[in-house]
Amino acid sequence: MEDNNMELLKKIKRIDAPDHIYDQIVKHIEDRKIQIIPMYKIAIAVSLLLVLIASETIIGTKLNKVSQSSGNLEQLFMQMDNNLYNE
């Protein structure tokens, strides 16, 4: 039975690939080229992002200092308040 199977496989014919496939492949390759974003656009986007992050860091740091100062002032007032009660 094994040899019959191998003999049967010899009856499979070879067929030609359809003609339109090459054109589809070429179109696919061309479509891929169009989709690639130009490098300079990526560079601009990355730069803007870095500027944004840097700005946020700087502003955030300044805001923190201000709020710390406010916190100190608040504490000072509370102390003064307490002093008043203690008199």
Partner: protein, 167 residues
């Protein structure tokens, strides 16, 4: 050789090989495209001293096996199982047998045989296809599969035994 020349030289080789794996002309066309896109992408890396035919065979074998695996994954997806659209065992069957290389005279017997080959483990399936349908030598098959000739023979014998069990 230009890409176009390479395509026209090897298109039938790749198409027929894909057809032996998938037994469906539309799937074979899809694999044919994928193989040559890969060839295009990696042509620069291809060493001119190496055998291009072996290289292209290797890409075609891998693409065909990957295609079959992805089809089986889709069929076995959780949703399919949940909704019982496709029972698990059917995921390993050929759902749409459409092999133009099989004529009407031998259709029934060959279809049965190809369905059994389809269910073999990947390495055994590849050896049967390359040795007995593509008529490559053991040395060529060993080179494509990157194993030694002894391993090719061993896989071939196991494939024959497995086919005998299911037939």
């Amino acid at each position: 050789m230009t890409f176009e020349q390479i395509y026209h030289e090897y298109k039938n080789l790749v198409y027929n090989l894909s057809l032996q794996y998938t037994n469906n002309v539309h799937d074979a066309e899809e694999i044919l495209q994928d193989v040559f896109l890969k060839v295009f992408d990696h042509l620069g890396e291809f060493r001119s001293t190496a055998d291009m035919k072996t290289w292209i065979y290797r890409i075609a074998v891998n693409q065909s096996l990957d295609f079959i695996k992805s089809q089986q994954r889709k069929k076995r997806s959780f949703l399919n199982q949940l909704l019982r659209i496709v029972p698990n065992e059917q995921a390993f069957e050929i759902s749409d047998f459409n092999h133009l290389g099989i004529d009407f005279e031998n259709k029934e017997a060959l279809e049965l045989l190809m369905r059994k080959i389809y269910k073999l483990p990947e390495n055994q399936k590849t050896v049967i296809i390359l040795l007995k349908i593509e008529y490559l030598s053991q040395k060529e098959v060993a080179s494509i599969m990157q194993i030694n000739e002894g391993a090719v023979e061993s896989l071939f014998q196991r494939a024959k035994t497995n086919l005998k069990k299911v037939l």
